[in-house]
Symmetry: C2
Subunit: 205 residues, 2 copies
């Protein structure tokens, strides 16, 4: 994530924007070069090929996404409070870059020519990251009767899914319900509370 030269930084910055917006196949090296304020030759000088540049960007963004996801929230013992702050923090993070999640899900779904090793790197390098610990936390809450009997895996990605879908659906929702501004801050704030309430009522004992 830290690059020695300023040019390198500008390239990765530009590439990230273009890849996220257009996807790997839709992205054009020319556009990336242009946005970075350089030419294609220099692009290849630094990253050798589109594929390598893409891998760099993808790795950065996925690992950032996971760091945000698992670390951005104060760890509270009590389940209700934890859930509340988690949902608020995560939706805020997603709100900062609504396109990112679409990009990641698309590329992950493209099946992993490169990805097995890539995921290895991400999970190895980020020490605090642990999907397993989230599952454990839920299991314990069930045992302590803090929440009702639920499948921990299903609950975990129900929470994630509700947060993520908020932004995945936005372009469609604008078409379906033009009377509402789904990108407005007030909608996002309301969404947070509605998601929290739905889940909390859904799992409290």
């Amino acid at each position: 994530m830290d690059y020695s030269s300023e040019t390198e930084r500008k390239i990765v910055q530009a590439a990230t924007e273009v890849f996220i917006q257009k996807g790997k196949d839709g992205a054009r090296m020319q556009e990336i070069a242009h946005r970075a304020g350089i030419n294609q030759a220099l692009l290849h000088y630094y990253f050798r090929s589109k594929d390598r540049l893409y891998r760099e960007v993808f790795k950065n963004e996925v690992s950032r996404q996971f760091r945000d996801f698992f670390n951005s929230v104060p760890v509270t013992e009590e389940m209700q409070e934890f859930l509340h702050s988690f949902i608020h923090h995560y939706i805020d993070k997603l709100h900062e870059n609504p396109q990112l999640i679409r990009f990641i899900l698309w590329e992950i779904g493209s099946g992993g020519e490169n990805f097995p090793e890539l995921f290895q790197e991400i999970f190895d390098s980020a020490s605090k990251i642990s999907p397993q610990s989230a599952i454990e936390k839920i299991k314990q809450a069930v045992q302590r009767n803090e929440i009702r009997q639920v499948d921990p895996y299903n609950l975990l990605f129900s929470i994630i899914g509700l947060c993520i879908y908020t932004f995945l659906a936005q372009p469609l929702l604008k078409k379906l319900f033009p009377e509402i501004d789904f990108t407005a801050n007030e909608f996002i704030e309301k969404r947070k509370e509605e998601v929290f309430n739905l889940i909390w009522h859904g799992i409290k004992p």
Copy 2:
């Protein structure tokens, strides 16, 4: 959706597969032609350009998705029963083609050069389709005290989001939790019940 010639049908069939898997930019006319058992010249003879062929496929799939979504489920008055059968039916539909939803969300998110008119067509043509009626149904259930006070928009796409995310996340989940087979039928069955229970507990009075 009905094409005069057999060749036309085969082309659209092949194009649908390729576009869904690779996306618009990643798809290759050569591959589509090959899968349809013809050559590229004939492809252009029928559909003139990649863009037109793509529009045809996209329109078909989106409208099919909406038909399935709004029509595939028996309309029950009682909320709990309706919710249960709706979730089961919709997850079953999505399960038939898990890649489809990723394709649609990606393309919708790509922003609508062509799409405004396209959506018009879809919603005009499909008479039974009505997002508004779903919202109304929820509002009534709230008034009748069948469910607690919730925002109908948020509830509607929370339901949709939970169903959809089941399949969006699959490739990632396989990596995160290799100990579980998320594509197995038993997982899907369990998922249906967990989603229903979460929502129903989440909204019952």
